[in-house]
């Protein structure tokens, strides 16, 4: 009997083959999941601005959920109305729920609102609220990333001399800053609380 007629012995046993294939598939699956979890969000992302004259980054202050609102501190009507509703919603959270939520307010009025102005302004709605500002470039990068916008308009007839039109949206962000939900012009605290509770 020649050697060619003998059955070839596989290099790896069936058990080893199955184990290897399983390992490869598991690695691929983990890789896909890891990539998915760490993908760049379609809307939102990092926040790198200024808080009380110090750099402030969402990456360094990650919270399970963030409520993010963009306006300006000298706005007398829309911003304080919406921030009042945000404060109302925040106060309705239980102590444990509140620990999972932080509130950020970004002033786009880089020319007039100082870091202290914005921080003091936000803290009057709730002591934990964080008022952020930044350079014109940093502010514009941030608002673009989060799909909000503003227009600075001169208003020579008015005492203030200018006005800022801006989107009136409360954004719910995840830990990485991805926008989970955008609440347009909330006119009650419940309009913010109910969607927020859905993520807690």
């Amino acid at each position: 009997m020649s050697d060619s007629t003998l059955p070839k012995k596989p290099l790896l046993s069936p058990l080893t083959q199955i184990t290897l294939i399983s390992l490869v598939l598991a690695s691929l699956t983990i890789g896909v999941i890891y990539s998915y979890l760490n993908r760049e969000p379609k809307l939102g992302g990092g926040i790198d601005l200024i808080y009380r004259d110090q750099p402030w980054s969402l990456a360094d202050h990650a919270s399970p959920l963030t409520l993010f609102y963009v306006g300006y501190a000298k706005c007398p009507d829309v911003c304080p109305m919406t921030l009042s509703h945000v404060a109302g919603a925040y106060k309705k959270l239980s102590e444990d729920e509140a620990k999972k939520v932080q509130v950020l307010f970004l002033s786009v009025d880089f020319a007039h609102d100082t870091a202290a102005d914005v921080a003091n302004y936000a803290a009057q709605f709730h002591p934990s609220f964080i008022g952020l500002t930044g350079s014109e470039t940093a502010i514009n990068d941030t608002v673009d990333r989060f799909g909000v916008s503003y227009i600075l308009e001169k208003d020579p007839k008015s005492y203030l001399g200018y006005s800022i039109s801006h989107t009136d949206r409360v954004l719910i962000l995840d830990r990485r800053g991805a926008v989970l939900e955008s609440i347009s012009s909330p006119r009650s605290s419940d309009a913010i609380l109910f969607p927020l509770k859905g993520y807690l």
Partner: protein
């Protein structure tokens, strides 16, 4: 002759004065309140319910506010998904009509407080009703109440 002339003059003056007073008095201002100024902001807003109970149209303008450097009437508007504000010179109320200055709508903006205020203080805002000055008392209220909901 002088007595007769003086009597006519008195009646004429009284008639003119009373018509102006009546005209102003019959535009009612209810629930007049102003938000306490906030640190970091130069402007705050005040709101009021208006009812013109006179038989003629009433034009209402904002002149000044006690304790603030300036006061103006503004309205909030929405365009292209953005909320903005613009100054308006006056508002007109038809006879027997009502209007409300409310958050997110028309409001009286108050700029640069010249003194400190506290919850419950009252300020006087001077308006013009058909060119007649009228002082209206506005109660100062906090933006966020101790309860959960903001004041409206």
């Amino acid at each position: 002759m002088f007595t007769k002339f003086f009597s006519v003059l008195c009646i004429f003056t009284a008639t003119v004065l009373s018509s102006n007073v009546a005209s102003a008095a019959e535009v009612k201002f209810d629930q007049a309140r102003a938000y306490l100024p906030m640190k970091g902001g130069r402007a705050t807003a005040s709101y009021v319910e208006l009812k013109n109970e006179t038989a003629k149209e009433a034009k209402i303008e904002v002149v000044s506010a006690e304790g603030f450097k300036a006061a103006e009437m503004h309205e909030t508007f929405e365009t292209d998904g953005k909320m903005g504000m613009r100054k308006i010179e006056n508002l007109t109320l038809k006879s027997q009509a009502s209007d409300s200055l409310v958050p997110g709508g028309k409001h009286i903006m108050l700029f640069d407080p010249t003194r400190d205020f506290k919850d419950g203080d009252t300020i006087s805002i001077t308006l013009k009703v058909n060119n007649t000055a009228r002082k209206v008392a506005f109660k100062m209220v906090p933006r966020v109440s101790k309860e959960s909901e903001p004041h409206h």
